[in-house]
């Protein structure tokens, strides 16, 4: 006869509450297979579209949850989802400011590449996501960060778009150039351009 004992409660539904603890995720990499070299993935996030940012954040968080080392290189339109939610305007001159007007920064304001309908598309997509228990890109990005995913912005994109380092969310690494990104890609087991 087998008796099974269980804790009375499930783990709190909102695991992210534990984020205030001093690095509760430290050592997660030890879950990864010890015999083989830890696998590494590089994602180039070039698009700031909602659906593609979703793909980026889903793959990054899942790879990190599977014990892989993940780096995301944010370039061109992909840079805007990294802007802090309280920053409405980026840019130093009128052209850069127009970019922020036409393309609102922040991961909570992404547009669909098709069927956007002035925001109706993303609104419906978020409702559908909620109905089906799908986490938003912003939530997935937070989890990815908690699991040790490196967020690396492209210096050239920042300069050209007029986005400064202090306008980016916490935890983003210093900006780098194409050479550094290529070095990461060359050493990675898989590279995705999204």
């Amino acid at each position: 006869m087998t008796t099974i004992t269980r804790p009375d409660t499930f783990l709190p539904p909102d695991l992210m509450d534990g984020l205030d603890d001093p690095d509760p995720f430290q050592g997660l990499e030890t879950i990864a297979s010890g015999e083989t070299k830890t696998k590494s993935i590089v994602i180039v996030a070039e698009s700031g579209d909602l659906e593609r940012t979703w793909a980026t954040t889903i793959l990054a968080s899942t790879a990190a949850a599977s014990g892989m080392q993940v780096s995301i290189f944010f370039t061109f339109w992909g840079l805007f989802p990294l802007v802090r939610p309280d920053i409405r305007m980026t840019g130093k001159n009128w052209m850069q400011k127009m970019l922020a007007v036409m393309n609102r920064p922040g991961i909570g304001h992404l547009k669909l590449s098709k069927l956007n309908f002035a925001g109706m598309g993303p609104w419906m997509m978020h409702r559908l996501a909620k109905q089906h228990g799908v986490a938003k890109p912003g939530e997935l990005l937070e989890m990815a960060q908690a699991l040790g995913v490196r967020l690396i912005p492209c210096q050239m994109s920042m300069d050209m778009m007029g986005v400064s380092a202090d306008q980016l969310i916490e935890g983003v690494e210093p900006a780098v150039g194409a050479a550094t990104a290529l070095e990461l890609m060359a050493e990675a087991d898989a590279t995705l351009f999204i």
């Binding site: 879950i31 949850a65 599977s66 799908v134």
Partner: protein, 80 residues
């Protein structure tokens, strides 16, 4: 009759959640356990059977049992 006791150290309720939350939450939860500890995961995502099999293979954690009752998938995993 011999009595065997199986102690489950942690439970994760991922019912109603879609990919990749069942896996991501389990990965975070299993981190809090010791080697050999058991964790039970409940999910309703039909893709989770394959996902948990793949995840166990990738991470080296053991998928002890996997079952489905009335659309609820139940996974018992042992931390590596």
């Amino acid at each position: 009759m011999t009595t065997e006791t199986v102690a489950i150290a942690q439970r994760v309720d991922a019912r109603g959640l879609s990919c990749p939350l069942p896996i991501v939450r389990t990965a975070i939860a299993i981190k809090t356990l010791k080697t050999g500890d058991l964790i039970e995961v409940l999910a309703t995502d039909p893709g989770s059977t394959k996902d948990f099999t793949a995840w166990a293979k990738t991470t080296g954690n053991e998928l002890v049992t996997s079952s489905v009752t009335d659309g609820v998938y139940r996974f018992l995993l042992r931390r590596k």
